[in-house]
Point group: C2
Chain length 195, copies 2
DNA sequence: ACCTGAACACCGTTCAAGT
DNA sequence: ACCTGAACACCGTTCAAGT
C-alpha cells in the first residue's frame, strides 16, 4: 500500500494504473488481482492509509475542547493536502478505520464538552462537511500557476457581471489556512451557543 | 451538452466516454474534438450547466437574509444531488458562470445583511465548504442497499472500537436533509454573532 | 468550416496455465 | 497458495484525409 501512495504522490490519480503499480511493486504483470478485488479497493486502502491520527500527548493540564477539535481537524486537512489526490478520492469511498477513529474521537470530545445528544450528530456532520469541502476546494485550487493566471484574468474581464466577489477579491485571497481556522471558529461559536 | 448530462445521469461518471458521447450525438466517431479540447472540458461544461439558479420572485415584502441564504444553498445542494455525478466531478473543476453567479449572490446577501467586510470571504468560503462537503458526502453514501448493509454490519461488528458513534447511530441516521439545514443554522448563528 | 476512420498507446480484468 | 502472460474489450487522442 505504501507503494500505491508513493505512486499517487508522484503522479496523481491518473498515474495509478494496475499495470504500473504491479510494475513498481517489482511483481510481474497481474499478480495484484490475487491480493485485491479491483482498482477501487486499492483506492480505498490508499485513502485510509493516509489518514492515521495520533492524539497529542496529554499533559496533566485540562485541555479545552475547542483546542482539541481544532487540532484534530487541522491535522486531518493537512494530511489530505499532503496527498492532494486524497481529496478527489473522497467521493464514493468507504469509511476505513482511520476515518472512523477520527469521527469517534470527535464525538467523544464534543459530548464531553456538553453538546446535547440531540445536536451531536448534526455537529459532527457539519464539521465533517466543512473539512471535506475545504480540503476538496483547496486541493482543486492548487493548480499550476498558469491556471491561476487564467482564472484571475477571466474574472477581471468579467468584473461587471460579478462586482461583489471581484471587489472582495474572493478568488484571489490566498490565505487558505487562515480562512479555514477562522471559519471553524464561526462554526464552533454556533455550537457553543446551544450548549 | 444536454446530451452529455443525460448520459451522465443514466450511466454515471464512468459511463461517459468520448466515443459513446459521439455515438449518442448521432455524429460519427471523433468529430467531438473539433468542438471541444478534451474530455476535461466536457466535464467542466456538464457540471456548470447543471447549476443554474433562478432567484425566487421578489415579493414586495422585505426578505430576511437567512431565508435567502438557506434557499439558495438548499437549491444548490438539491441541484447537485439530482445529478449525483456532479459531486464527484467537483474536485479539480473550473468555476463556470453559474457557480460564479451563486457566489456573487451570496456575497451580496451577506454584505447587505451586515456581515463585516473583513469576515465576508471567510463566511462565503465556510458556506461553500459546508455545501460542497455535505453534497459530496451525501452523494457518496447514496450507494446500493447492499453497500449500506455491509457498512452497517461492519460497524456493529466493530462496536467496541467505536462506541460513541455506534451509540449515537452516526452512520445510520438517514435524515440528511434535516441535518443539512440544522447544521446550516448553526453556521449562520456563528456569523450573526459577529455582526 | 466541419466531419471521418484508422491508428497509436494505453487501460482494467479474466483466465488458463504454471510453480 | 501464489504468480504469470496472453487475450478481450475497452479507452482518449491524433492526424491525414475527406466534403
Amino acid at each position: 500500500m505504501a507503494t500505491a501512495v508513493e505512486l499517487l504522490d508522484a503522479e496523481g490519480i491518473g498515474g495509478l494504473s494496475m499495470r504500473r503499480l504491479a510494475d513498481r511493486l517489482g511483481s510481474g504483470a497481474m499478480s495484484l488481482y490475487w491480493h485485491v478485488d479491483n482498482k477501487e479497493k486499492v483506492f480505498d486502502l490508499a485513502l485510509d492509509s493516509v489518514l492515521e491520527y495520533r492524539e497529542p500527548p496529554q499533559t496533566g493540564e485540562p485541555r479545552n475542547w475547542r483546542g482539541e477539535v481544532v487540532h484534530m481537524l487541522e491535522d486531518w486537512r493537512a494530511s489530505m493536502l499532503r496527498h492532494p489526490w486524497s481529496a478527489s478520492l473522497l467521493p464514493r469511498r468507504a469509511l476505513g478505520p482511520n476515518i472512523l477513529g477520527r469521527l469517534e474521537l470527535l464525538s467523544k470530545i464534543l459530548s464531553r464538552a456538553g453538546v446535547a445528544d440531540a445536536d451531536l450528530n448534526v455537529a459532527i456532520w457539519s464539521l465533517w462537511n466543512y473539512v471535506m469541502g475545504a480540503t476538496v476546494t483547496r486541493a482543486s485550487f492548487e493548480l499550476s500557476d498558469d491556471d491561476r493566471a487564467v482564472a484571475q484574468q477571466r474574472l477581471t474581464r468579467l468584473s461587471e457581471s460579478y462586482p461583489t466577489i471581484e471587489r472582495s477579491r474572493l478568488l484571489l485571497d490566498s490565505d487558505w489556512d487562515g480562512a479555514f481556522s477562522r471559519g471553524l471558529d464561526f462554526m464552533l461559536d454556533g455550537f457553543a451557543a446551544r450548549q
